[in-house]
């Protein structure tokens, strides 16, 4: 048994080492994938955090709301305001054209009389707070039918929704501050009228709350800023590990097509040691793939200006889950190789099924962005179990006990695949 296993391991290792294209696919392609995806995500995030985004502004208000917005936008590093083009004031048509053709990514038009409309609205709301018998608080009284202050924001059509959301959030922040300031000004004016005391103007309505981003990790609570590497590297590592299905299934089919598997069946003793030898080599390849990709995250990504992947204290958990993922991928490869009749069939079915399992598993689209039904379906993907376990290790510092259930799911998946392949083979041979 041991001699047959050893012979099978040596044979598979030699075949793999002599298949340069296969090796490149197993190691270089996944590493390139991680590098490219991390660089892409990094550049997208940088775009979102980009300073001095050029913004066109037309302030038709010429009053406090417009002035506050322009001053606020000027204060932040996020935007670089342009109110003129070639020294001449902008009109709305020009602004729309410049934004639509992508010369500017954002255009803001503050409508005429916006301040007055806002004051009217605030006064109306204050008036509603007092009982009707108090009579009119303001002269002239606020007009309930007056339109709301109008501010239009135009975006370059190719702008990503994440960037739009960031800009809209920033603008909303100014609007709330301006609204609050105006409310206070109106109340202050009312106080002056009622009790004759002139209140001093409040300097700032910003930074009144200490808002700090924190992530609770296990029992500790500390400020953690998750880096793209912590998300990207684990996700793409699992994806690449499952791509071992293609060479492994191809190897099984090649052996069958060459008549080798029939010849192996004529040899004394069980073929289990031969299959275990093959599975063992591909399992080790999966482990080496994982190690190379994690090392890339730790040492190569920083060379490209990205934050390094940090493993933290979860090394035993990382080892256990990586072993389970590699076994699951190997088992799946054996099943695909057994049920496929040609190499073309196995490579198409193998790759598409891995992409589907990856998509369902949250590798391509984060689970939190999925619908409830899709979240339920995603839990059926072995890639999802691996990904969740990796996130638990890399982002939540979970110990072995925290990821053990995922490891067991993956092992059960591996075992199910191997059993299914065995039964299928038996059924096929009996026909």
């Amino acid at each position: 048994m041991w001699l047959k296993f050893k012979a099978s391991v040596i044979k598979e290792s030699l075949l793999l080492l002599r298949d340069k294209a296969g090796l490149a696919m197993l190691f270089i392609m996944p590493m390139a994938l991680i590098l490219i995806m991390s660089l892409l995500q990094e550049s997208t995030l940088k775009k979102l955090e980009e300073r001095n985004t050029p913004v066109l502004v037309i302030n038709n208000d010429h009053d406090s709301l417009g002035a506050h917005i322009v001053a606020g936008l000027n204060e932040t590093e996020f935007f670089e305001l342009h109110q003129t083009i070639d020294g001449k004031p902008l009109n709305v048509q020009q602004l729309k054209k410049l934004v639509t053709n992508g010369k500017y990514r954002v255009g803001i038009v503050i409508g005429e009389g916006a301040s007055n409309a806002l004051r009217n609205k605030i006064k109306y709301e204050i008036q509603q707070q007092f009982p009707p018998e108090e009579g009119a608080l303001f002269s002239p009284p606020p007009d309930p039918d007056k339109p709301l202050p109008k501010i239009d924001v135009y975006f370059d059509p190719i702008t990503q929704s994440a960037f739009k959301q960031a800009v809209m959030s920033a603008l909303n922040e100014f609007f709330y501050a301006v609204e609050a300031k105006m409310v206070m000004e109106i109340y202050a004016s009312m106080m002056n009228d009622i009790i004759g005391i002139e209140l001093k103007q409040m300097a700032d309505f910003k930074n009144m709350i200490d808002l700090t981003e924190k992530t609770s990790v296990g029992k500790e609570e500390k400020v953690i800023i998750p880096k793209p590497a912590q998300h990207n590297v684990p996700a793409w590592t699992i994806f690449a590990m499952f791509f071992i299905v293609i060479p492994l299934a191809g190897n099984i089919i090649k052996e069958r097509e060459s008549g080798m598997s029939l010849r192996l069946r004529t040899l004394p003793g069980s073929n289990l040691s031969v299959i275990l030898g093959k599975a063992g080599v591909y399992f080790v390849v999966g482990m080496l793939q994982a190690a190379s990709m994690l090392l890339l995250g730790m040492y190569i990504l920083p060379l490209f200006g990205m934050a390094a992947l940090t493993v933290g204290p979860g090394l035993p958990a990382l080892m256990i889950i990586t072993i389970a993922i590699s076994l699951a991928a190997t088992g799946y490869g054996i099943l695909i190789g057994t049920v496929s009749t040609t190499q073309e069939q196995s490579s198409i079915f193998g790759s598409i099924s891995v992409v589907i399992l990856a998509a369902l598993g949250g590798i391509w689209v984060p689970i939190f962005m999925m619908t409830e039904t899709m979240v339920k379906i995603s839990k059926l993907s072995p890639l999802n179990w691996g990904l969740n376990a990796y996130y638990d290790i890399f982002l939540r510092n979970e110990p072995v006990s925290g990821i053990l259930h995922y490891a067991l799911y993956l092992l059960a998946f591996a075992l199910s695949c191997i059993l299914a392949a065995w039964f299928y083979n038996r059924y096929k041979n009996s026909r």
Binding site: I10, K11, D19, R265, T266, L267
Partner: protein, 251 residues
């Protein structure tokens, strides 16, 4: 059949899932110890099916096979140890060298170390392969590949050697080397050889006993010279073959 049977096939039947007619129908056959037994027949006659069942590659639907007195269905592990199989396909790992392939098959039969090395070297020398043992099989000619394919099946010195068309598609020189070596193996090591072929002349010269199969049944069997003398209108085995199996195409 004078010698003690080493293989006895009783009422063997095999029907494939996609076929209406059985490939082998209640086949009875005895192969004597030390014989070179030729199993001949047109395409689809049931030769490969019979051999495949004998090698445990596929299962029979009905019937029994006894090898050296043991029932194949019950003792396949023990029986496989005394059987060597040389398939029609070049069932070798093309990216491994001849030596690596032979070492792999030797290990599969439980051979190792110096003993295995010595067996590989001596068998390779007998087939003119000793200088090319460390070259990858995919660089070999068809004849060389077929010789390595044969050596892989005889490293463990089997008592029964099953050969499915061992000389198909190779030159005369390679064919002669293979046939001469198999004769030596049969004489010196008393290996029983079960052989299939479409080459009637080669079978007539090489085999000590011949059975012609058609439609899954034996249509005639005996020593080549007895068969030829039994059909006065026939001059050779090919004439008998055509007489018994007809001239129409079978596939």
């Amino acid at each position: 059949m004078a010698s003690t049977p080493i293989i006895e096939i009783r009422q063997l039947t095999k029907r494939y899932h996609q076929s209406d007619e059985p490939a082998v129908k209640k086949l009875d056959l005895k192969i004597g110890k030390g014989e070179i037994f030729g199993l001949l027949g047109p395409n689809g006659a049931g030769k490969t099916t019979t051999i495949s069942i004998l090698c445990s590659q596929i299962n029979a639907d009905e019937g029994d096979i006894f090898v050296d007195g043991k029932n194949l269905a019950a003792d396949s592990v023990q029986i496989k140890k005394i059987i060597g199989v040389v398939p029609q396909e070049i069932a070798l790992y093309q990216k491994l060298t001849a030596y690596e392939n032979l070492r792999f098959f030797g290990n599969m039969y439980g051979l190792k170390g110096e003993d295995l090395k010595e067996r590989i070297m001596s068998r390779a020398a007998a087939f003119g392969l000793e200088q090319k043992l460390h070259r990858k099989v995919n660089t070999f000619s068809g004849g060389m590949k077929r010789r390595v394919n044969l050596v892989a099946g005889i490293l463990h010195r089997p008592r029964i050697l099953i050969l499915d068309e061992p000389t198909v598609g190779i030159d005369v020189q390679s064919k002669n080397v293979i046939i001469d070596y198999l004769k030596q193996l049969n004489e010196k090591e008393e290996t029983t050889i079960v052989y299939t072929s479409h080459l009637m002349e080669e079978a007539e010269r090489f085999c000590t006993h011949i059975a012609i199969l058609d439609m899954g049944k034996i249509v005639t069997e005996g020593k080549p010279e007895e068969l030829i003398s039994g059909y006065p209108s026939c001059n050779n085995l090919e004439d008998i073959f055509l007489l018994l199996t007809g001239r129409s195409l079978r596939d």
